[in-house]
Symmetry: C2
């Protein structure tokens, strides 16, 4: 690839690059010296369950790897070792070193579905931050001013609104900037909400006589509702560890508009290729539903291989599309008392899911052939759960319910 | 002493006590338990040369000692180990541990002229602050908010005026508050400009389940000009290491108003006794000049004993009062080439001091009996410096000069 082609490849899906000019000259310099760029991104050790929102960043790291560069996957374990020191947040107690290492293992399993392990360095910022000690922390703090930190948008807002900002929150941008110094990062990637912290890294590097890292931000990915940030707590997420059928079905829920957004941020297709697909959908030469299947297959392939993609596609077509399963329906987990058994009492489950008002009614409906499970009619009280199935879509008459099975 | 008498003794010269009620009950509690109060005050290790401004605080510590309590003389050496980390202040490079210990020795020599060594604990805050490390510092920072710190008057002003506040400056109030926790201070003393930091100590102690320290502030002492804060750089100071004659003479320069202020803050006289003196000066039964001699004698006695006081008084009367020496005159140090010799060439010195335009003129004036040294006429070119003399007041005709001798 020429430098121009490389830049185009790296630019795709970025919200901002500061600056492209610097990135170009750094790429040229590293090509000359046959030295790979060090491309850093930081991750929180407290939440190792990734969803597709996180993969936007990972994919950008991968693009650098595709060009021969090194991804530095930084686990901000110092944050984890502290928890929420203000004690206000009971969900963030300090973690032990073991828990952090365990989370790191979970991370690895997930991220290496996207990143190339041979071109990835996994680091923990405790390596250099714990060495700073009391004096080092004071010195670190001397490198920035209150006014500068209060310029960060979320701090500005909270300060103006009289909402408390604990002083330790000011330390995190600093330690993140120090991480760039310690890692001698050439590039740091982050969400657009990280821009301030990433730019601080440039300053700290300059203070330490290092060339300033190039900063590239990626957009915050919208969840399946198409408007809010993808997040576990909002329920609009696709987890990278979810079974292929679930992943596939969730992607198929996306609106046509969101679909093209996901094409841009969740696949390696170039902007030119995506424009062509859009054109096809617009002039009728491509059916949007076909494009959505293609997108779902691509995404599932990343995490479950081609086999997973076809399994997901089959399940979708069988259960959802052919039977016109509604997009949304009541969901529940399998009742505790039914877990562990390979055969389930369907009448009890229908009642538990609220589709029948009693076991007797459920039995009657079964005998009347009004019940289907995962798209197939079922008349028997006993139901043997097929292997590898992660959910049961129940239908009784015109009412639906989804039952998640324990993984 | 009754508790009321103790309170009156401790209250004298304080700007504020937070709160007197708490101090009363802490005094009662400690009397019951036969446990001395721990009375803390912090000192900067970078400037071990004390002047009388610092003794206001030391004297208040002494008053607690007089009642049987323990003075905790805290040297804030962590500050010294860092210097000015912003690098903006070239006069504050980091100090070595040796320099700090050396300064501590200098401190001891000076402060034990006021404090009782048997009831003094000398501590260094590096003992507990260095142990905090990176994680401890972050936790420390979590105990306070940006808004709270910006409420400190000098920070508020600087922030409003757009003057930079380096983040590490926010750490000093915190470490000072942490010192109170580590030392389990019952009382912390400081200048009025320290009030915010002292109050933060109360909060931190409460967070750590300790009873809140009582805070007592003492006024900032005015220098000899009677208006500005006593400080070395303003030249309006009386150093605790200055020779008795110099100390005595400087006190005698104070205005009558300043004299009573010094009586309050620099002696152990009670407010009642001072009121009596004021009354005497007002009704003419006491001559203000006599009161000033008494004050000078009291102050010099603290640092040089009774002998020093009478030496200082004699010198003052001989040189200054009897001969009507002007309050101010040109001053200089003894020229380098004349140092070390016990006999000085007076003609050369008169010329160096600018009282004669040439050696020949100086010689002529000596022969004409127009020259006096320290109040005594002198006709000879050679002058033998009497032992123990710290300065030579030269007079030639109507012109004066003061020459400081090396100590």
């Amino acid at each position: 690839m020429t430098i121009d082609e490389q830049l185009e490849y790296l630019r795709k899906g970025c919200a901002e690059i500061i600056s492209e000019k610097e990135l170009r000259s750094r790429l040229e310099e590293c090509a000359r010296k046959r030295r790979p760029l060090r491309v850093k991104a930081g991750f929180d050790p407290t939440a190792p369950d990734l969803h597709l929102g996180h993969t936007v960043l990972l994919r950008k790291m991968k693009h650098f790897q595709d060009l021969g560069h090194t991804a530095v996957f930084l686990i901000g374990d110092v944050t984890g070792l502290i928890g929420d020191p203000s004690g206000r947040n009971t969900t963030r107690p300090p973690m032990t070193r073991e828990q952090i290492l365990e989370n790191a293992e979970t991370y690895k399993k997930q991220v290496f579905k996207i990143l190339d392990p041979d071109r990835t360095e996994i680091r923990f910022n405790s390596e250099w931050l714990l060495e700073l000690g009391t004096l080092g922390m004071i010195e670190l703090c001397s490198q920035t001013t209150i006014a500068q930190l209060l310029e960060r948008e979320d701090f500005t807002q909270r300060y103006r609104q009289g909402k408390p900002i604990s002083l330790h929150e000011f330390l995190y941008p600093l330690t993140q900037a120090q991480d760039s110094v310690a890692l001698k990062a050439d590039v740091e990637l982050g969400g657009t909400d990280q821009k301030f912290n990433l730019l601080l890294g440039r300053e700290f590097q300059a203070t330490h006589g290092q060339p300033r890292q190039i900063v590239a931000t990626v957009p915050i990915l919208e969840g399946l509702d198409g408007t809010q940030k993808m997040s576990k707590s909002l329920g609009n997420y696709i987890g990278v560890d979810e079974p292929p059928e679930v992943m596939y079905r969730k992607v198929m829920q996306a609106s046509d508009e969101l679909m093209f957004r996901y094409y841009e941020l969740l696949t390696d297709l170039s902007l030119r290729e995506i424009a062509k697909l859009k054109q096809g959908a617009a002039d009728g030469s491509q059916h949007p539903m076909d494009l959505k299947h293609d997108l779902a297959a691509r995404i599932v392939t990343d995490f479950h291989g081609r086999e997973g993609a076809s399994k997901g596609g089959d399940a979708f077509r069988r259960v959802v599309q052919d039977k016109q399963v509604p997009d949304s329906m009541p969901e529940m987990s399998l009742p505790v008392e039914m877990r562990g058994a390979s055969v389930i009492r369907l009448d009890k489950l229908l009642r538990a899911a609220g589709l029948a008002s009693s076991g007797a009614e459920a039995n009657r409906k079964l005998r009347e052939n009004s019940v289907s499970v995962n798209g197939a009619k079922h008349r028997d009280m006993s139901y043997e759960v097929p292997e590898g199935v992660s959910e049961l879509v129940l239908k009784l008459g015109k009412r639906w319910a989804r039952v998640r099975l324990p993984s």
